[in-house]
Amino acid sequence: MAGIGTYLVRRLGATLVALLGVSTIVFLMVRVLPGDPARVIAGLLASEEEVARIRTQLGLDLPLHLQYVRFLGALLRGDLGRSARTFEPVTLEIMHRLPNTVLLAISSSLLAAVLGIGAGALAATHANTVLDYTISTVVLFGISMPVYWLGTMLILLFSIKLRWLPAAGAEGPTSLILPTVTLASFSVALVARMTRSSMLEVMRSDYILTARAKGLPEHRVIRIHGIRNALIPVITVVGLQFGNLLGGAVLTESVFGWPGMGLLLVESIFSRDYPMVQGIVLVFAFLVAAVNLVVDLAYALVDPRIHYV
């Protein structure tokens, strides 16, 4: 594994550069785009003195480069400022909501992996049969379905008509079921697609032919040689889907009133709480970058064919 150290350093460097870029863009978004955040926070009826007070409080009256240095310094200390709505530290409120979003994202990822890999493998081993076409159709529907509509329809069926599951909130494990299924729908479809295509490719390989020639039963060929090798690119897709999952979490949490960061983000946008919006976007971006880094490194470690150049 010569060169993995260099690869690690290079990949880590690229992530740090991306994170610095993300922080810069989030910093500039609030300050450079049209509109005065102080005026927006104060409200249209606020006096000039009130707006000036908020501007000083947020440090918006300082030159841009000084604001940037202060922003980065605070960021390194984990200080994301104070909420313009509650005046509580942004980091504190985010840490309060973060576990709920992480729980939802992890449960959805797991569901997507289990169902997606299962459906994809089934479709590949029954390629061009009725089963394959049925799975393909369901997958296509899953990719095309808006999560907020699916969530609403699930509430209608399982909460209103059947009264099996709670429609909203986060009280008890049953309230996690509908949001998890909703959020996982798109990823299930994508993982199934990837698994099917990856497995079809693997099943055409020479080593599969060799395994069959040795007289290995078909189910062992599929389980030991097929699925295992087909899963390598699928793991990457599951990992890289994490970003989309967080994007979908904003909508899913809004549908189910799930008290996570996505719902907090929407609430903060409506109350024009810019420090909170800035903080949540940063945390989301950092999470995505961290997961992408882990996936890339795991991929490099798992697949010996990858050269660290």
Partner: protein
Amino acid sequence: MRWWTRGSITSEYRRPSVLRRLWRQRAALVGVFIIAALALAGVLAPIIAPYNPVKQDLAHVLLPPCPTHPLGTDHLGRDILSRIIYGARLSLFIGFLAVGLGLALGVPLGIVSGYYGGWADLVVQRLVDIMLSFPSFLLALSLVALLGVGLTNVILAVGVSTIPSFIRLTRGAVLVIREQTYIEAARAVGTGDGRILFRHILPNVTAPVVVQATLSLGVAVLMASGLGFLGLGVQPPTPEWGAMLGEGRNYIFSAPYVATFPGLAIFLAVLGFNLVGDGLRDALDPRLRLV
């Protein structure tokens, strides 16, 4: 070979055109039909919509589907079918303009990045890395939060969020094409960069870009209606599918059809674009077939 046999022999071996290959795929045809029907409905909305989509009729609020209102009425007595027909116009308009913006910025940046390499590539790729660190819906959401709600800002926000995927795709295709012998030959006979880019590179990246653009149309419709659903997209009373679904959610207990039909319209539009996109991909490059 005699001149009169030349035509028949070449046509015998000619690969069928993309349109013909697309025509052979029933699923893609269903997609074309769905999109054509929605586009036609949008264009002919003033003629075919049975009611004014924004006119309130407080005497007939939350009516279930009936002969006079085939899809029922909403909380302000507006005809849901008429609003969905007008909504098709808006959703497709947003989708096409947003993806157009993504194409207009993403493809040239991808070509420059892939063809010239060096610093241009480094800068563009770091930019892409940064943009991809934001989940695309979150990027669109943040932009709308800061720019403000409204049609133009939704198009801008959704369009900007599609740029990185076009840059990545185009760059990847250009990296392969620029190593081809015909590019080397063009350079050897003294062809300039501009001519190589427009005559040789651009036509050859068209196929993957068209597939990506078609699939992105579905994503753009989903994103724009997602913003509308949260109340951060096109503002009422304009009939927009996502906003209709968002408003209808409040009546899910008493009048579920108010939220059901706009959602179905979004689903159909996205399904249509996905079917056409998948069909185009299979027609242009069957090796890329996934499911």
